[in-house]
Symmetry: C4
Subunit: 386 residues, 4 copies
C-alpha cells in the first residue's frame, strides 16, 4: 500500500516484527511432531538456525558446538580469528575496554592484516571436529577466500556485505562476478544482504543457494540511524520470499531465504518464518551463550569500520549454555532461551506441520503488546544497571 | 481491513484496548438502575466478573469470598492447592524468593504430583461455605478431573489451555473430545482460550456454556514475546462475539463470551463489554486484594512450565479488600478499584440498560490518552521501586 | 473514517491534539493586529480564555484577577468555597497532605455541607470588585443554585457534569429540564460536557449560550482509564463545531463551543481554536499562577467523589503571575506561559484575522514532534524529582 | 491522503524523518565516486551542508573554518557578534549561566543594540580569510542590512524568519518587498522558512536563489509546542521540492531547496536529500564541534525573544573537530559524525550518482527502528547525566 508522503512523492508502508502477531490456528498440533529441518541445496540441517558471522558470537569452538547441536555457525573471514593466531587475549582486551574507548580500540585491533594461512587452519579445525565448516567473506575478497576455503574443505560459503547487489559500479576496483563465483565453487553459496524483491531475484539468478535478508534491523547495527537506510524485516522477508517462489516456479531451484537481524526473541524468530523465511540468522541470542567468544559482549562487523563505524560493543551478558538457548530448559522467561522449543510450540499452536506451512500462517497487524510494560522494562534495565 | 505487509502477503489490522475509547451516549442513565447480572446457562450471577484460575489469585478461601460477593473465582486443578495439603508455606516461599530464583523455584514446586483426593476436598470446602464451586483443568486431564469434580459437587467446569481448538493432532497421546465432555458432564462447561471467529464457532458446537477469549494479552503472560502468537483483545472479543450471535441464531443456544486477560483497569473492563463480552476474567486486579493468596505477588500458569516458562512472578502489592476492589469505595484513582462501580458508571454514561446494550455502544479508535503521562508513570514506578 | 475493529464491528478514528499540527498560511499578519475577542450572547470578553471550575484554580480572589485581565474564571458551587466560610486552612491542609493520604483527605473535606448563604456571598464579593461573576453547578442542583445565583447577581451560569445529555433516565430522582432552566434564567447558560455532534445539537436546542466540549482529556482527570470513556479533543471539538454551524443556520443562534480539558500548552490552545472552538477552558495552566488558590497543587472535581474518585492531586508548581501566564513575558519556554501571545502569534503565522478565521485554518495529521525528546523529558522529570 | 478528523473537517497526513527509511538500490556504487557538490546560482560548493545562523554555532571564526572545508556557515546579523565587539565573555556568561536563569539572561544580553559597523567588520574578517561570507537577517531589516552587507562584500544573503511569506499584512510597519530585494542585490538571496507548496512557489517567483524549508522541527526550537505550528520535514521538503520542479519547468530557474532543522544524524540528512533537498542546514551537529562558539551549548534564535521565548539553551557537548564531524573518522557511532561520509555511503548503497538522483530514490514508510532501544537510550542518558 503506497501513500503520498509529499505532493508528488509516494512511499510504500513497510512493517517490522513489533507490528505483527501470529494468529492461533483452527487446528493445533503436538509440538513434538512438527518438522523443523532446513535444507540448503543437498545439505540438510536439523534446525533452521544460523549464528551470525560476528566475532563476538562465532569463533572456531563455537562453530563446532553449534554444528554438533544441529545448527550452523558462520565464521567471519574478516575477523580477528584470521588476523591473530592467538586471539584469546584480543577478546579479553575488547571485553575489558572502557565503553568510551571501545570503538577506537576495535578499530585499531582490526587493522592487523588477515593471514590466509589462518583461514585454512580455522576451517580445518572445524572439519576435524566432524562438523560442517561455514565461512563468510566480503564480496571484494570472495574470489580469493572462496578458493582458499574450498581447498581447506569448507562446506558452505557466505558472501556478505551491508548491501549486496549484482550490479555494483566502481571505476577504481574490480567488481565481483557472483555468477562466476557460484558456478566456480562446488559448495553452496549464500549471498547477502538484500531486502527487495528485484535484487533478491537478480541475486538468485547467479545460482546461489541462499539469501541473507535484512538491512539495518539488528541490535548491534545502526545502519538506519547513520545512513537512513533500512527496510523493516516483515516486509523485506515477505518480499524476498515472493522472489523465491517466482524463481522456483521458473527454474525449479529453491533458494533459501534466511532472515538476518532484528530478531531478539523466540517471538521474533517465529514471525520471521511466518513472513516466509526458511531459516534465521541470529546474533545477540547466541552472544549470550557460555560458548560465545565475546565474554558477554557483542559487536557488529561495521563497528571496526575505520571511517564510519556503526554499532558499538553491547553488553549482553551470559545467560546460559548454547544447548539451553537452543533447546531449553529456559531459565529466563523473556523469549531469549529455548528458541527451538518456542518455534515448535508456535508451530503446534498455529497448526503448521513444517516450515513451509508456517510460511503461510495467518498474520495480524497489531500494536506492540504493552508499550507501557516495555517502557517499564526499559526503565528498569537502567535502574538495575546502576 | 487487510493491508499488504509484503508483496504477496496481506494481514488484517487488529486492535487492542489501548487503541479504543467508548463514546458517551445520547441518553444517560442513573448508574444505580442498570442491570449487570450475568447468566451461564441456567446459573445467574450478580456480577459479570470471574477471577482467573491462577494460584496467586484464587485459593479455596478466595473462591468463597468471591462467591459471597456475587462473582466467580475459578480454582485451578493444576495448581499448588491440589499438590500440597498444606500450601501456606509454599505460598510464603514463592513470595520470599529473590527475583532471579523465582522461575526455577516455581518450576520445582510444581513438580510435586497432583493428589486427586485434594481436588475433591477443595471443591467440598467451597460448597460447604454455600458458594458455587468452579474449577479448571487442562484439556488432557479434563475427562478425569471433570468426573472427580462432578462427584465432589462442582457447579461449573473450566477447560483451559493457552490455545484451544476442537481439532488437535497428536500421534503420541489421546486427544480430548470436547463434545463428549460437554454432553457427559451435567454442569456447564467453559472452554478456552480462543481468539478467532472460526475456532469460537467450532468450540460452541461442542455444546459448551461459555468461551474464554484472549491469547497473549495478560500482564503476567508473555506468549506474544516468546511465541509471536496473539490477537489484541478488542478484535478477538468482537470476532468471538460475532460467532456467538451466529451460533445463537442457528441453535438458540447463547454461549457466553468471557474476555480473559489484558484488562488492568475498570476502563479496560468496560471496553471488553463494549466489544461484545458477556463477562470478564481478571487476574492482576484480584491479585491485589487482601484475600488473594499470592501475598502481593502474581504469576501465570505458564510460569512453572518445565521447558518453556512464560511470564514471571510480578509484584502487584496489596491495595484493598476484595469488596473494595469490586464495589469500592476506591482508595486509588487509577481504575484498579471499584470495578463494579466503574462498570455501572460507564453504562450510565453511554446509556446502556444492561450488558447486551453495552455490547452495542459506540466505540472510537483513539490513541492512548497521554503517552507522555504514561511514560512519566512508568518512569516513576522505577524511581519509586528503589 | 470508519474501520473494522472486529468482524461485524466498526469504529471511527478520532484524533487528539498530539496528532495534529497547524500549517503556516499563505498570508501572514502582524500578531498585534488580530482580533481575539470572545462573545457569549451579548457579553463580550477581551480574551477567549476561561479558567476551569476547579477548587485548586478558582477562588473568589482568582475570579476577580481573571476578570480584570479580560478573561473568565468559573467558581464552582460544589467546592470548598461554599462549604467553608474560612477556607484558607482547608487549602493549606490539602497542599500539605502526603500523597498517599490525599484522596482520602479530599474525600473527607468535601463531605462538609454546602451553605447556600456562602453561594450568595461569593458572587457578591466578585461583583463588588467590578468583575462579572460566573459560577457553576451540577445538573441536579442547577435549578436551586441558579435561582440563588441570579438573586446574588451572577452574570453567567455554568451547568457541568462529566457527561451531560438532554435525556437522562432515573426512577429515583427528578431529572433537570435544561430547556426550562435556560428559559427561566435571565443570564446566559453554559452546558457541558459533551463530545458528540448529536448531543451538542440537542443541548443547543435547549437555548443555552455555550457548550463545554471535552470528556476525559484533562491532565487531572482519568475518566478514560477508570471508565473507558472519552473522545480525543480534536474530533470532539470539530464535531461539536459542526453542530454549532448547523444550529446557527437553522435558528440564527450562535452557541459558543468552549474546548474544555486536555490543553497543557499554548500549542494545544491554538489547535483547539483551529478545530473549531470559540473559547477554551483551561485548568493546569492557571493552577500554576501565583493567584491560584491551590498553592502549586491542582485536583479535579471528580477527585473527591466518595465512591469512585478519578484524578488525583497533582503538583504543578507556581511559575508566574496570572498576568504573565496570560500576556507574558514568558519566563519558561515550554508553551505554558503567555498564552495570549501564543494565540496571537499563531494567528499571525497562519494568517487568521480573528477566531472565526482561525477555525478554518489548515491542519495536518502529524506525529508528535519528538517522541524521543519527550521520553527524555519524562525521564528527566523523574530524575529531577529525587 | 486526507482523512476526516471531524465531521466536516479533513486533514492531510504529513510525515517526519522518524517515519521513513530509504530502500537500498538495485545498483550500488563505490561511495568515493559519487558527486555531492551543491550549486547556488553560479556559486558551487564542495559539499551541500550549511551551518545554521545560530549564535552557538556560527561566529566569524567558525564561518572561516567551514568555508575552508567546502561548506557554508551563515552568520546571523541579529546575533551577539554584531551587538558586541568583544563577544567572548558574553559567550562565557551564557555557557556558565545556571539552567533556570538562562532564558532571562539570554533575553537581556540580546537587548544590546546592533552596531552596523560590526556587520561590515564581521563580513570583511571572513572575506580576508579567503572564504565566501554568507550572512542572515530578519525580513524587517533585510533592505538595510542587505545594503551594508553587499558593500562589505558578502557573497550570499539569507533572509530568515520563523514563517516567511510574500504577503505579510501590517498596518503599523512597512512590509519587506522580497522581489525588490532580490532584484536590487547582486548576490544570491536565500529566503525562509517555508513549508508549503504554494508559499514556496510564491517565494520562488521573487527571484530568490534558495529556500529554507522547515518550520518547527529543530531540536532547539519548540514552535510546535508553543504555537501548535509545524509540518514534519519529509512532507514539507517533498512539497517544496515539487514547487522547485514546477518553477524550473516554467522559468528555467533552479531554486535550491535547503532542508533546515530536525536533522540530528547522518540518517536524517540522507533522508532530507531523498525527500528532495539540494542542501541541508544543520545546527546541533555543528554546535558539537570544537570550533563552535557555544562552548558545548546551543540555543535557537527564538530563545532571546523578549515576550515569547521558544527553545532553550541545550547542552550538546563537544565531541570532535569540525573536520571530524564533516569528514570523519567518526569516533562516535550514533550518526552524528562523518556526515559527508554517511551521505556518500548512503548514495553508494541506493545507487545515486549525485544529489539529483538521490532525490528520486525509493522511500518506505517505516516505524522508527527500535522504540524500546530508543527508550533505553533516553533512560540511559538520564542515568548517565547524574
Amino acid at each position: 500500500m503506497s501513500e503520498f508522503i509529499g505532493r508528488d512523492r509516494k512511499a510504500r508502508r513497510a512493517y517490522g516484527f513489533d507490528e505483527i502477531a501470529l494468529v492461533p490456528g483452527e487446528v493445533t498440533i503436538n509440538p513434538e511432531e512438527v518438522d523443523i529441518s532446513f535444507k540448503l541445496k543437498d545439505q540438510k540441517f536439523e534446525i533452521p538456525f544460523l549464528a551470525s558471522a560476528m566475532d563476538g558470537v562465532v569463533d572456531p569452538k563455537f562453530a563446532i558446538a553449534m554444528g554438533k547441536l544441529g545448527g550452523i555457525a558462520v565464521l567471519n573471514l574478516e575477523g580477528i580469528y584470521v588476523r591473530y593466531a592467538d586471539y584469546e587475549t584480543i577478546l579479553d582486551d575488547i571485553a575489558k575496554a572502557p565503553p568510551e574507548e571501545t570503538t577506537a580500540l576495535v578499530q585499531k585491533l582490526y587493522e592487523e592484516p588477515i593471514k590466509e594461512k589462518l583461514i585454512s587452519q580455522r576451517i580445518q579445525d572445524i572439519k576435524k571436529a566432524g562438523v560442517r565448516a561455514v565461512v563468510s567473506s566480503l564480496p571484494q575478497k570472495a574470489e580469493r577466500y572462496g578458493k582458499i576455503g574450498e581447498e581447506a574443505g569448507m562446506d558452505c560459503f557466505v558472501v556478505q556485505s551491508t548491501v549486496t547487489t549484482v550490479k555494483h559500479l566502481s571505476k577504481s576496483y574490480q567488481v565481483t562476478d557472483f555468477s562466476k563465483l557460484c558456478s566456480t565453487l562446488k559448495v553452496p553459496v549464500i549471498l547477502g544482504n538484500c531486502v527487495t524483491y528485484k535484487v533478491a531475484l537478480e541475486l538468485m539468478e547467479t545460482g546461489c543457494a541462499g539469501l541473507l535478508v535484512g538491512i539495518g534491523p539488528g541490535s548491534a547495527c545502526t545502519t538506519r540511524g547513520v545512513l537512513g537506510l533500512g527496510v523493516p524485516q516483515v516486509t523485506s522477508i515477505a518480499d524476498c520470499a515472493s522472489a523465491r517462489e517466482v524463481h522456483f516456479k521458473k527454474t525449479g531451484q529453491y533458494v533459501a531465504i534466511i532472515g538476518d537481524g532484528g530478531m531478539s526473541t523466540g517471538g521474533d524468530v517465529c514471525k520471521a518464518f511466518a513472513c516466509g523465511a526458511d531459516a534465521v540468522m541470529v546474533g545477540s541470542a547466541f552472544a549470550r551463550t557460555k560458548e560465545a567468544p565475546g565474554r558477554g559482549y557483542h559487536w557488529g562487523m561495521a563497528t571496526p569500520h575505520a571511517n564510519l563505524p556503526r554499532g558499538t560493543r553491547i553488553r549482553v551478558g551470559t545467560t546460559g549454555s548454547l544447548e539451553e538457548i537452543l533447546y531449553g530448559p529456559a531459565r529466563l522467561d523473556d523469549g531469549t532461551q529455548n528458541l527451538v522449543g518456542a518455534l515448535r510450540t508456535c508451530m503446534g499452536n498455529v497448526g503448521a506441520q513444517n516450515i513451509r506451512e508456517l510460511q503461510l500462517t495467518e498474520i495480524v497487524i497489531a500494536p506492540a503488546i504493552r508499550t507501557e510494560g516495555k517502557l517499564f522494562q526499559a526503565a528498569q534495565r537502567v535502574g538495575m544497571g546502576k
